[in-house]
């Protein structure tokens, strides 16, 4: 595997932060995920959680770390260890989005300022394949990479307080879906009937780091149909193995 020059830092006395060069790209992401899976495989007794960032892993320990340097060397040897056996499958998920103006309340503004027809915005947004870098902000909120430059649009200076569950938005250079009703500063272009976080399910969030997301356009009628199937638990998301 491709080796990077990593830095190891203490993060308080119960966590270690490992950083890759500060870059958002898929090669880094793959390396981050590979290291994470190795750690989870080898050293789960003392580890509480491993949190992924764009170019980082944060490992939290169950107990105070007694000797940080010996812990660093344990991790360094795990990084260099061979790892051919465990391959976690990644998927490409097909996510329906209704871009109707009743949901896409900021489409008009983006259209005017970015000088794009609304149909062109929808086309650009739904023809791209996005990579899930990690999940944060709120439970089930996917950090997606791959938004077309023509759709970059600044966050609202004052966040809205009542963004709907499922709202699909653009914030700066990113796009994403609000998994639950919340406040937020992103520009809303549509809504997905899919549930991205269900705490009562065995797998509360179907997506994970390294997966891909592809949006496709649906109309209001399809939206209601899918929504009721999702609510009754009968909707099966389309996916492909990567």
């Amino acid at each position: 595997m491709n080796s990077y020059k990593l830095t190891y830092k203490s993060f308080g006395n119960r966590a270690i932060l490992i950083e890759w060069p500060a870059k958002i790209d898929e090669k880094t992401l793959k390396n981050v995920i590979l290291f994470k899976n190795k750690i989870l495989k080898k050293n789960t007794k003392v580890i509480l959680e491993v949190i992924t960032g764009y170019n980082s892993l944060t490992i939290t320990y169950k107990f105070t770390i007694k000797n940080i340097y010996s812990e660093f060397s344990v991790l360094k040897s795990i990084y260099l260890s061979d790892f051919s056996k465990i391959e976690k499958k990644n998927y490409r998920w097909k996510i329906p989005v209704c871009y109707d103006k009743k949901f896409g309340i900021d489409l008009q503004e983006i259209s005017q300022k970015n000088k794009l027809e609304i149909d062109a915005i929808i086309h650009l947004h739904s023809s791209q394949i996005y990579t899930v870098f990690f999940i944060g902000f709120t439970p089930g909120f996917l950090y997606l990479g791959g938004l077309d430059k023509r759709l970059f649009f600044d966050r609202k200076s004052t966040p809205r307080l009542d963004i709907k569950k499922g709202a699909v938005g653009i914030g700066g250079m990113q796009t994403g879906i609000y998994p639950s009703q919340s406040s937020g500063g992103w520009n809303i272009i549509g809504n997905s009937p899919i549930s991205f976080f269900n705490p009562k399910s065995e797998e509360p969030c179907f997506a994970k780091s390294g997966d891909q997301i592809q949006f496709y356009k649906i109309d209001c009628e399809e939206y209601s149909q899918i929504k009721s199937l999702v609510e009754s638990g009968f909707y099966k998301l389309e996916r492909e193995i990567l």
Partner: protein
């Protein structure tokens, strides 16, 4: 059952938190002052992770519908069982129809009530800690019924009253480690950060405490990365945020300091207007 008669300013059910779901964006949560919540559980003979009530700034009351043994720790909100003032940090027998009331805090901010056997509210993702979007409620409401087991006798070992050092509530130095981005600060910024007397603003809750005083800041945001309870973030406007138990799992502001576990618990007993200084400690000091 315990019936909530008055819910107070902000009362929730908390254990030691929800772990293992950070990768899907689920915060840790858990009791803000875990020194006090663990103590309450120990005194009634529970596991330290059993769910307790966390009461913020008192002013609430509860009706016990069964016999039980309870212990109150943390902030002293003049607790009374029916009309009698009761002692903190000791096991107390309650019987059917007893009413437990709390008034304004005399000292501290957060009070914990452990009940023998623990509160039996629904456990979701391995924890009973209330959190928006995970548990059905975020805080308890008037007339809520909280399930508990009936306990008939006080275990003999639990009669002692534990004496609490008042430092826990009054401490003015908050011990911190360097955060991952500490070394990016200029010497002047570091000096300010460690010398300044900081004041907690009125924007403080279970997610985090914003501080009033500003530190001039030219640091750029970092690529979004993990944050932890006790992480101190420096925002572009120069505002410092001390993240607490319900904080998000990731953030993009430089992480300049990291509170010790003890310091998080002490911070949980402070609120709007409380002042303190950060004191940097070495990693190899055992806490």
């Amino acid at each position: 059952m315990i019936k909530v008669l008055q819910s107070g300013f902000y009362t929730s059910v908390q254990d030691l938190g929800r772990f293992g779901f950070g990768n899907i964006g689920v915060p840790n949560s858990g009791a803000m002052d875990q020194f006090s919540s663990k103590l309450a559980n120990q005194i009634v003979g529970n596991n330290e992770n059993d769910a307790v009530l966390e009461i913020t700034q008192g002013n609430c009351s509860f009706l016990f519908q069964v016999k039980s043994v309870i212990c109150i720790t943390g902030a002293d909100c003049n607790p009374k069982l029916n009309t009698t003032r009761i002692t903190l940090n000791t096991a107390i027998q309650v019987v059917e129809n007893d009413i437990l009331t709390f008034k304004n805090p005399i000292y501290g901010v957060r009070t914990y009530v452990a009940v023998a056997g623990g509160l039996q509210t629904e456990s979701i993702l391995n924890s009973r800690s209330y959190f928006n979007g995970i548990t059905p409620s975020v805080r308890i409401k008037k007339n809520d019924l909280l399930s508990i087991s009936e306990i008939n006798t006080i275990n003999n070992q639990t009669f002692a009253t534990v004496k609490i050092n008042s430092t826990h509530f009054e401490v003015k130095t908050i011990k911190v480690f360097k955060g991952p981005e500490y070394e990016l600060l200029s010497n002047a910024q570091k000096k300010l950060l460690l010398k300044h007397l900081f004041t907690i603003s009125n924007d403080n809750d279970r997610m985090g405490y914003r501080l009033k005083e500003l530190i001039s800041n030219e640091l750029e945001s970092i690529l979004t990365s993990a944050v932890l309870p006790g992480t101190v973030q420096l925002t572009p406007s120069g505002k410092l945020i001390v993240l607490m138990r319900d904080c998000q799992v990731t953030g993009g502001y430089p992480r300049v300091l990291q509170l010790t576990d003890t310091a998080i618990n002490q911070m949980a007993q402070k609120t709007t207007g409380s002042t303190f200084v950060f004191q940097l400690i070495d990693l190899d000091v055992n806490f």
